[in-house]
Every structure is written in C-alpha cells, then in structure tokens.
Subunit: 352 residues, 2 copies
C-alpha cells in the first residue's frame, strides 16, 4: 500500500529576477538561496515529510533540469521525474502529471506546489495540507490555499472567499467567490481592508478524478493529448510521445484554464509564513538578519557601515563591503551584480 | 661600449592600500592597474626606452618577487635583478645596487626610480631625465626631481628649493634648501603658496662615485657591508652573502640616510603628469574616465546611475553596477571589496 497522498512539485520555472544568483541554466529552485544548506526545491520536498511517501512524490520540470532534480532529490524514483520538452505554463504541466498519477493510482489525493517558495511555520503548513488532503479524499472539491495578507501586495493574485459559511465537513474551508489578478496598490488596499481576500499561493489540493474531470470539461483539447497517452505511461514510449505532443499544448496557467472557470472551488485560509520569494526584497525579509538588517550568504563576508542589504555570493572567497544602504550584492560563477534594492525590477534588463 | 647611463628600478614594495587588487603576494607594481595591458613595473621600464640600454637596467626587488620580474621584464639580463632577502627600505637597496654597478662600471651615471608610479607626459619626462643624467656625468651632484604641486597634497614629502640661482651648467637645476616631511593641510597650503616647494617624487639622479661616497660619509656601517662584498659581485657567492648580510642593514630610507644629511643636493623642478598612485583616488584621477567620472578595468563591466567610481576586476567575467557614487569596486582572485572612496584609508584594516 503506497498511500493515497501524492505530491506534485512544479520545478520548471526559469526565474531571472534573482540574476546572477538564479539563471536560466540554474534557476532559483535549484539554489540554496537562504544559505541554509538546502535548495528551495529540497526545502519544498522536506516540508512534505511525513505527509507523502517518497514513492508518491512527483516532480515536473524542464528536460534540461533533469540532472539537477535527480541530484538534489536522490530518494525519489527516477520515473517520478516528468520532463517537459518545452515550457507551457502550469496547465499542461498539471494535466500531464495528473493523467500519469491516475495511471498508477486512480484514487490518488494530490497536493500541487511550486518549488521556489518558502514556508516558515512548517508544522502549521503540514496541519493545513493534511486537513485539505483529508477533505478532498471525500469530495470532488478543488481546494486552494489562501494566505492571509499582511500588506497591500501588488505582486500576488488574490482569492475572494465567501466567509459566510464554511463547508460542512471542514470548518476551515470556504467557497471561492472569485479570483483576482494582481491588483494595483489602491485595489490591494481595498482588498486587505476586507477580511475575505487572500493571496493565491499557487498550492492546490484535489483528488485525481476531480482534476482530470475538470480538464475534460474545461480543457478538452489538452485532455485529449494526455488521455490518449494512457497506454504508454510508464513505458519506454512515454518520453518520445511527450516530446512530440507536449509542444502542441496551449501555453496556459491552471488558474486561467481551470480555477477561474470551475464551479466548485474552495479556499483554505491559512497563515504559515509563506513567501514566493519573488524579489530580493522578499528574500531579505525572510532571511536571518544582523542587527543592521543585512542578510548574508557566502563565505567570509565582512560588512562595515552597511544596512538593509543582502549579500549573496557563490564563488567569491572573501567579501568586504563598506558604506552600502539598501543594496543587493550578488555574485555567481564570476558574475557580479551591485544594485539598489529599490531598483531590483530592472535586474532582468541588467542581465541581458 | 654599453653606455654610461644606468637605470635602477626599486620594485620591492608590498603596498596593501590597493587591496585586493594589490596584495603582499602581488603588489601593485606587478599589476596592470591602468588597464592598459602593461603593469606599473613595465610602464616604468618603458618610459626609459632610448635613455638606458637594456643591459644597464637594474631591478632591486624582494626575492619572492623574482619570478614576476623575470616574467614581466624578460629582456633585461637575469643577473641585473638583485634580490633582497628581506625588506630594509630604500637606503640598503640603493647601497647594494650602487656598489654592484660600481663593480661593472665605475663611471656609471644612474637614475633611480620607484616602480609603482605613473608619468603621463613621457617625452617631457625623458627630456628631464636626460638633462639630469648629463648634469651628473660632469659633477658630483645628487639630483632629485621635484614635481610642481597643483594642490595642497598631504601625502607627499616636499622639497624646498633655493630658486634665487640655478647651477651654472644647467639652468633648470637648483640647490635644495631643505626636505620637508609629509605636512598637514595648512602647512601644505603655505608650501604651495610659495613657488619654491616641490613634491619629492622619489626619483634620484647621480653618478656612482657620488652616491657611493655619500654612503661612505653618512652611512659608514651600511657602506662597509657592500664595500666588503666587492670581490663577490657577479659570482655565485653573491646571493648567499647578500642573504646573510642584507638582514643586518639598518631599515632606513635614502631620504633620511643621505639626502637630508648631504650638502650638495639639487632639485630639478619638472612637470610631466606624475603620480605615485598612492590611493584609489589618485588612480581614478589618472585613468581614462567615462562622462560620469568612472574608470573601469576588467571584462564586461556595465554601469547604471554610477558616478565618480572606480571598478577594477580581475577574475570576474561580468559585472553590473547600479546606483554607486564615489565607490571603489575591486576584485582579485575571488576577493571582492566594495568601499566608499572617502573611506579608502581603512582598506588596510579591511584586508586583515
């Protein structure tokens, strides 16, 4: 009995906002961005320990990152690492892995998570995930996790919940009224004044029948591609067929493809110190800091008259920084970035 | 006939003010600090081209830098590189090389120069040096070069000249009244208000008899050490004896040992764009700058909203700097320094 709980880690992103620490060749999920000895992918895997048996952990990633996944998660079966021949956003990724899981466990309960976020309060995170997995084991619900907002963040999508009544079987789970795209700051302020708006963390819980049926209803073309492949999952023909067919999938997010269309969507409001680490600023916020608000990762870093800065070095053996306030100093494989934190949205441009 | 003009390059310094670009293992004279493809030692050698034949070029350096000198100045005879077993300031260095030159050319005219300064106007420099060498060929004068000051610099010693009359044989050469130690800024201001104060560039011109006799008179103990060795100069025994005796020499500068004591000292006031490159600030001043006053040495350096800064990188392949004003960014062999130019006097402390 391998257990009914499955974990899907989406590890195909190629974030360049953390350049040069994160590059297309080595995106941030494969980097020890916290300087804790584990990469974000490993931390993601770790936080599901005890909830999902290792043989039920699935990673969907780009073919070019396969070796990184094998290396960083050596315990999971090689066959559980699904390789996308090209990037097609989250809907094709989730469709592929859902049919694949269905082929081995038609009664699977699944939690889907990004690979490059962090969670500070892991016990609370585990409680929430277990609770949601228990819920979807007994219902055809699509459950999202809603992060209680503490600031008018414009970098996240919001979930508007109907808090007037919770589900009968789980008092912490509510119906979703609507999904909201990333708002401007005035709209974000209005959202957080109300108590029924939550950040969309991109973590989903459902059973395999529910998600497969949702794809069949709302994305029939996408469904046909993976439905057709049922005979080949787990055979040698699988990768070859995926390499041919995956590029034909529409480039579409699961939010847009399913969540915003489906009727029975639920949200589990939660608070477990979550961040998508979308910016250097959020990384700084989530790292251990010295008394001047600096966070350092690397060997032998000395700071003088420096505050509110993040210093992240990889190959440098010795770093001395004097006189910086609110800066990013990042070095990776011989590439150095020095940039005001307030200008970090330009990093993508700098990296070109 | 090998010519009577000899050049002595003192290349034993271990400047750490340019850390990490310059280190005890690789001091600044061996570094291409200007980013021009030649090290300061090579630029020093180059600027005497046509004045001194290559077989008359002598380099005195620390034994540990011997290979750097052989590599950077491959044309000069290996036997012309004199190796100090330990650092003993300029007087023992000059005494050693003077007796050594005397042993091969008792009528030598000598110009002594540091190896880590720069000269912008080389033709004028050459004119001055040739003129001074011609002068000492016919007199027992000790000639210093005096740089016309353009600011109340507190980092240099000053030479006070008696400008009321020049020598009969060279109208540009004057008697020295006195040598002044590095002044405070008020004193420096007073000096430059007068017209007879010049920076001491540490460049000396004399004939070998004059300097050897001066050592005999003012530094008899030092003289005895190198006089005794006359039979062994150029033999296999020389280095062994030097290794034994050099450490016995007093640690003393030629300024203090000879110049401030001797009677007949002359100064040749000159203006040829000289700098001792004693600070990152002076390096910046002397390098080619972009329109925002930045000077860069290294590969693929991109600057945004950056001004008055010097970026000097060695092993980094790519550098992006945003938002720095008046900073030093220096990297060498995996060591990175970021520091305000105004705080550069603390670099020695940072490097420890």
């Amino acid at each position: 009995m391998r257990g009914r709980n499955h974990l899907v880690i989406m590890a195909g992103g190629a974030g360049t906002r953390f350049w040069p620490m994160s590059t297309q060749d080595n995106p941030k999920q494969f980097v020890d961005v916290m300087g804790c000895g584990r990469t974000l992918l490993q931390l993601t895997y770790d936080r599901f320990g005890g909830i999902v048996p290792v043989e039920n952990v699935w990673v969907v990633t780009s073919a070019k990152y396969a070796d990184k996944v094998y290396e960083q998660l050596p315990d999971i079966p090689v066959g559980n690492v699904l390789l996308e021949p090209c990037r097609r956003n989250t809907a094709p990724c989730i469709a592929y892995v859902s049919w694949k899981i269905k082929s081995v466990d038609p009664k699977a309960n699944i939690v889907v998570t990004p690979s490059d976020h962090i969670v500070v309060n892991v016990p609370e995170f585990q409680r929430v995930v277990r609770s949601a997995l228990g819920f979807v084991a007994e219902s055809d619900a699509i459950v999202t996790l809603g992060m209680k907002p503490n600031r008018p963040e414009t970098g996240y999508g919001y979930i508007q919940a109907d808090l007037s009544y919770s589900t009968a079987r789980n008092k912490e789970i509510y119906r979703v009224d609507s999904f909201k795209e990333k708002p401007d700051v005035d709209t974000a302020r209005k959202y957080i004044m109300q108590k029924n708006f939550f950040w969309n963390a991109g973590i989903f819980i459902w059973n395999v029948s529910t998600i497969v049926n949702a794809f069949r209803v709302y994305q029939p073309a996408l469904s046909a591609i993976f439905e057709d492949m049922l005979p080949v999952y787990g055979t040698e023909a699988e990768q070859k067929l995926i390499d041919e067919r995956f590029p034909l999938c529409e480039n579409i997010s699961v939010d847009y493809a399913i969540l915003e269309k489906a009727e029975e969507i639920y949200v589990f409001p939660a608070e477990f110190g979550w961040s998508d680490l979308g910016t250097w600023g959020s990384l700084l916020q989530n790292m251990e800091k010295d008394s001047y608000g600096n966070a350092c990762t690397g060997s032998s870093i000395s700071l003088y008259e420096t505050s509110g800065s993040v210093v992240h070095t990889d190959t440098l053996r010795r770093v001395v920084v004097q006189g910086l306030e609110g800066f990013i100093v990042a070095e990776k494989d011989g590439t150095l970035l020095i940039c005001r934190l307030s200008e970090e949205q330009r990093i993508r441009q700098f990296s070109e």
